[in-house]
Symmetry: D2
Subunit: 215 residues, 4 copies
């Protein structure tokens, strides 16, 4: 299982979370990555943790003020990028162009989507993975794997119909090791989580609990 | 073949074009529809021509100022709607929600896209049809069917892989009857056209020429 | 006082509300206008009521699919347009260009804004009027004139500092004649209202109550 | 005069340009700052140069994936931020909220705008400075100060009418010391420039030439 911790714009210390994530990944053997603010990628990747961007822009090098250039986040240490998170929905044409940008910069890609139909659409664009995130569950602490398991299996089916090679992640309400196991049982190969770790009093303990069943 | 004339924001007389389109459809037996500005749908549909919206918003009834409610365009006489035209690119989640809105209002749907990958994504959302429009050919008078026939066959293949029932239209640079025949030969079941008719000195003559090979 | 009834995307009968508004305007001598969906402008203006658009796009005639062309809404009978409603926030550059578009089409303009600073900014662009609408009060039935009278006087001041000729309207939570009088006492020359009329069981009675204190 | 070098998404080495800018600022006594990609702020500010962000998002701390949090860019070393650059036009309400975000993070602010009317609107929102950038001159090498000097003086007047304390910068086509002097003569207190330095074969020489008349 792949565990991607999205720090969003939370008021956490990104280096503290990253250091904990790097240690937990080392100790457990579970793949754990952290997606900080673009301006924190440099500092986060210095901890040795696998670092992801939360977004990259669809543009190439050129006259694009305020964009998030894929090459720049890669240069700062990112190895992958989320795209089309429910808090940052993109135009279909821009998801496609951002995937091209990520590929040029050698970034792995996860495209998020709301429901199985959109998961099928996202998979048709050829990302490395897709993540199903029913918007109504984000930030609730209610894991999609128990609140709406059918949506996960339907997402896995929709993705497989379009592209047999694409991974499917679960992306809403995940916070415990049991949620992780449930997500795996439904056919997903990873999870996106955010507040469960980033807003925890003790992010290290939260991550340790999370990966416990996978050790 | 289905011929959809998109009037965009052109300074043409929408009722004159609509009347010509209605007559040409009657005389030739070819299905011809006209997509005017939302504010002209009422007047255009009064001519008896099949009338389409250029866009509908993803929202339902409610507090949405400045939206284009699917139910309102249907009420004014529209029978279908374009979505995600290259001049009006939408978020993936909004294409999905606009398709739901169109279905509630009993509108037929065509989702436009730039290239075969996006055509596959659009088809995965379940519209009635998709239209492939390489942006670089729009408004050029160079038909996609001759400038880049491979993109049309690739789009037909991409759509079929995802949804065997979805129609594929050609949508850029079409202006003559020969273009229409070429589009049909490549596997498409219709065309979107705009300036070739809407900006013609004699829109009726342009439409008659267009459908001539289909009579 | 100017009373503008914004029908948004409500499931009301726009012609019924428009007919009531036309009658109430005639009987009371109060200026009352109705802003329906673009696709309903034609039918609404046929009732004789002063008709407004809820929005116009910043573009001129040309290749702009899915836009709301100022000339098209004027052609269908609109005499004015709202811009930048809190449910349809626009880019600063687009408010400016939409004002140009409205002027070309001879449409009166009201630019909405959240707070006095934005009211000053909107006034600097030279519209006929601005409307202050604290987002947290929209649709609440709590009139801005009583919930936050200071914001209205601050808006009137901010507008006057930038452009002495611009009118200031109150635009959130207005539903009764008393609200109208309070808005007038605070220096505004009109009100935007929506659900108070459009969702009333008897829109005519709601309008009559509203204008009663102005007769 | 304040010289702000916007690196946009250019394929330059941001640290090389930053080092040159820091040296030129030291040698000449002219205030020179560099605005890199968000992911490069950390490395650029390490050179000791005054570092700016190209943009910050309107949001506060919280659940906002893919945003550019003002606190994060400040944390990485930024001392100011551009907003509403013509390549990144913002909603009026978002310029206002991004100014609030910048203030919370103690960032200096420059709001860009197309023309004198929009400059007045931008000034009404209370930034530290505004920058006038006619879009048609950006990247041309034709300085606004010679191509259209009236637009600069009109911008200075428009800003002064609304807020006597706001600085006005010139922001399009500036590349030489003469352009800088011309901009100063028209009443501006700084310049934005980009390709003239970032795409120069020798950025240090370009900066030295630029500040030469100010020594």
């Amino acid at each position: 299982m792949f565990v991607l911790v999205n720090l969003k714009a939370y008021p956490c210390d990104p280096v503290e979370v990253a250091t904990a994530a790097a240690d937990v990944a080392d100790d457990s053997g579970v793949r754990v990555a952290v997606a900080p603010q673009a301006a924190h990628i440099d500092a986060v990747s210095e901890t040795g943790v696998e670092t992801w961007a939360q977004h990259v822009s669809p543009n190439e090098h050129g006259s694009h003020t305020g964009s998030t250039l894929a090459e720049a986040v890669a240069d700062a240490g990112a190895e992958g990028t989320l795209l089309n998170h429910s808090e940052n929905r993109l135009k279909l044409a821009d998801i496609d162009a951002s995937l091209d940008a990520a590929e040029r910069a050698d970034l792995e890609t996860i495209v998020c989507a709301n429901n199985p139909a959109q998961i099928g659409a996202a998979a048709a664009l050829g990302p490395d993975a897709v993540a199903v995130e029913p918007p109504e569950l984000i930030g609730t602490g209610t894991p999609v794997s128990s609140a709406d398991p059918d949506i996960v299996t339907a997402a896995v089916d929709a993705a497989a119909r379009v592209d047999g090679d694409v991974d499917v992640l679960c992306g809403a309400g995940i916070s415990t090791g049991d949620d992780l196991v449930a997500a795996s049982d439904l056919g997903s190969t990873g999870v996106l989580l955010a507040s469960g770790v980033a807003k925890a009093d003790d992010p290290r303990a939260a991550l340790e609990d999370l990966v416990e069943p996978l050790r």
